[in-house]
């Protein structure tokens, strides 16, 4: 395991880490010199070469996304920062904003310069009241010191940044739901194409990036793509703030390069599983397929290892479960969550999530047979690839992986079905 200097969390723990004074004293905004010395297209190439992938869940290459913005439409270009952090099990953007809001602003300046945008909105979930105050405080400080506003540090580049407070809806973390919400409407995702890079906020080209994606950019601009790409693995470059929740002795978050084995993460950083042996891990937020203890043995914290294990890196925040966990109760928790959060515009999602939840209730009530389990799997198959956004798939994947990998837990709740009647009677 490489040891590298922290990039995202280096100010965490410093007194008043969120102030401009501390930020500047610890190298903050120093990437801007390199930034403004480059042409925007060169900045995009640099970020492409760094291998930085989106940290919001989908893992889309950041530089490539930026390169999709058409520069000839005559319309303004926007950056929307995704600080909605709603994926169950995910909690690290929270601390990025609390501890180092200026780092995010520095990343926003880099991104906006690269895509030629002069207006950025930070969409923050409504519950993050303290985080919003932090961000607004940092924006005020930055504007007064000439890091935002007109002619930033004499570069000729102008940028305004505003915070937009959400109001409680998981779906507004989906990037086009977020844009709808920014426009004052219900957060119902949009049909793609057109992709937001071409037709986004107010009908203009828009890039949507996660808080940690943007906070990773200043280091790349300051130190170069090659230095960044040398950290982590070939496909998963750089560092990330990894999180642990659930049944570990030490929950929390740690910044480290990609590549640590999952079991070392749990045993070394998490100080081992709490309350019994390991049963399962959801590796990157509740939408990712669940893994058994066995599958975790050769799993590493990388995009490629997650893909090889038929799950997803997601947000890099793992939920750990010990042997006493009843998977039926956990899946019921998720079917409830997704049916509650479905925006309701697509039938397979609105009906599918609700049916899955009702079938889980039936199972818990002891009213279901293995036929209902089959039905749940069939419904899951009909929920994927048929909707405007992937919230529907984000439940289908857990349903399938929970029932297939922990079938014994589910069968315990089943009453005998017709097919279980002995052959001589039937």
């Amino acid at each position: 395991m490489q040891t590298v200097e922290p990039q995202l969390t280096k100010r965490f723990g410093l007194k008043d880490s969120y102030t401009l004074k501390v930020f500047l004293a610890t190298g903050g905004y120093s990437s801007l010199k390199n930034l403004f010395a480059k042409k925007p297209a060169e900045v995009i190439e640099e970020v492409k070469a760094s291998g930085l992938k989106g940290r919001g869940g989908a893992g889309f290459p950041c530089g490539m996304k930026w390169s999709f913005v058409p520069q000839n439409t005559g319309k303004p270009i926007y950056l929307a920062v995704n600080a909605d952090e709603g994926e169950p099990g995910t909690f690290t953007d929270n601390y990025m904003m609390m501890n180092d809001p200026h780092l995010l602003l520095e990343g926003i300046i880099c991104a906006c310069y690269a895509i030629n945008s002069h207006m950025a909105y930070i969409y923050v979930r409504g519950e993050f009241y303290a985080q919003i105050q932090r961000l607004n405080g940092a924006i005020d400080e930055a504007r007064k010191a000439g890091y935002l506003g007109k002619n930033i540090q004499g570069s000729g580049f102008d940028l305004e940044v505003y915070v937009h407070r959400g109001a409680g809806a998981y779906i507004c973390g989906e990037e086009t739901g977020l844009l709808e919400s920014l426009e004052g409407k219900p957060g119902k995702p949009r049909i793609k194409p057109p992709f937001p890079a071409v037709v986004g906020l107010f009908g203009c080209p828009t890039i949507i990036n996660n808080v940690k994606t943007l906070s990773s950019v200043p280091w790349i601009i300051a130190n170069g793509a090659a230095a960044y790409a040398a950290i982590g693995t070939k496909e998963s470059t750089g560092t990330h703030v990894f999180g642990l929740s659930g049944h570990v002795n030490q929950t929390g978050y740690w910044e480290m390069p990609f590549g640590l084995p999952m079991m070392e993460f749990i045993n070394h950083y998490g100080k081992g599983v709490k309350g019994g042996a390991l049963k399962a891990v959801i590796p990157g937020g509740s939408s990712c397929p669940i893994l058994t203890a066995k599958e975790c043995e050769d799993l590493t914290l990388t995009y490629e290892s997650m893909r090889d294990h038929k799950t997803m890196f997601g947000t890099g925040c793992a939920i750990v479960m010990n042997e006493h966990v009843d998977m039926v109760k956990v899946l019921k928790n998720l079917t409830h969550f997704y049916s509650h959060e479905s925006c309701g515009q697509c039938t397979p999602c609105r009906e599918g999530t609700a049916w899955e939840d009702r079938l889980m209730k039936k199972l818990l009530d002891g009213e279901a047979t293995t036929q209902e389990l089959s039905m749940m799997l069939e419904i899951a198959d009909n929920m994927e690839g048929k909707t405007i956004c992937v919230l529907s798939a984000a439940l289908a994947m857990p349903v399938r992986s929970f029932i297939q990998k922990f079938r014994a837990d589910f069968e315990k709740y089943c009453k005998p079905s017709i097919s279980a009647v002995p052959a001589e009677i039937s």
């Binding site: 709603g86 004052g184 929740s245």
Partner: protein, 157 residues
């Protein structure tokens, strides 16, 4: 029901950040909730006037988002996370404690108007679960005893 002139001023400052006025509807609803306590039908009409959109558009948006109160909440609004990571570490016990101690079911307000209670979904503090928000403040690593004491303290306030 009308906004005070200084609130309208504040709103105009916010609205100027967006190229389209309707985009300031979520901020306008936040202002309405701060000023009037919750989003009544009359408040929606005042918001529509201020933003310059139809009351139906305000209703459409206000009803989509869970944090806009459609009825008056308690002085202390308890929002307990009931999602997966908190569940694994005991959110059921926390919910039970609140329900028993205050005699509330989800969505209800105590007769004296002091407490309201609503289980909510993941609050993005999963490593410190179980957790809840009391109004806009986070309380983390909750225990049934701790929550009981917190409620007793709030009762005295």
């Amino acid at each position: 029901m009308q906004f005070k002139p200084e609130v309208i001023n504040e709103f105009e400052g916010i609205a100027s950040r967006y190229p389209v006025r309707r985009a300031a509807l979520l901020p306008a609803l936040w202002l309405a909730q701060r000023e009037f306590g919750f989003i009544s039908v009359d408040a929606m009409k005042a918001v529509a006037d201020m933003v310059g959109c139809s009351p139906a558009q305000v209703l459409e948006t206000a009803s989509f988002y869970t944090m806009y109160h459609k009825e008056k909440p308690g002085k202390y609004h308890l929002q307990v996370c009931q999602t997966i990571a908190c569940l694994l570490n005991g959110s059921e016990e926390i919910k039970k404690t609140i329900e028993q101690k205050l005699g509330l079911k989800p969505g209800q307000v105590t007769a004296d108007g002091k407490f309201s209670y609503q289980p909510v979904e993941c609050l993005a503090a999963c490593h410190n679960g179980p957790c809840m928000r009391v109004n806009d403040e986070y309380h983390e690593n909750l225990t049934p005893e701790g929550v009981g004491k917190l409620i007793d303290d709030l009762k005295k306030k």
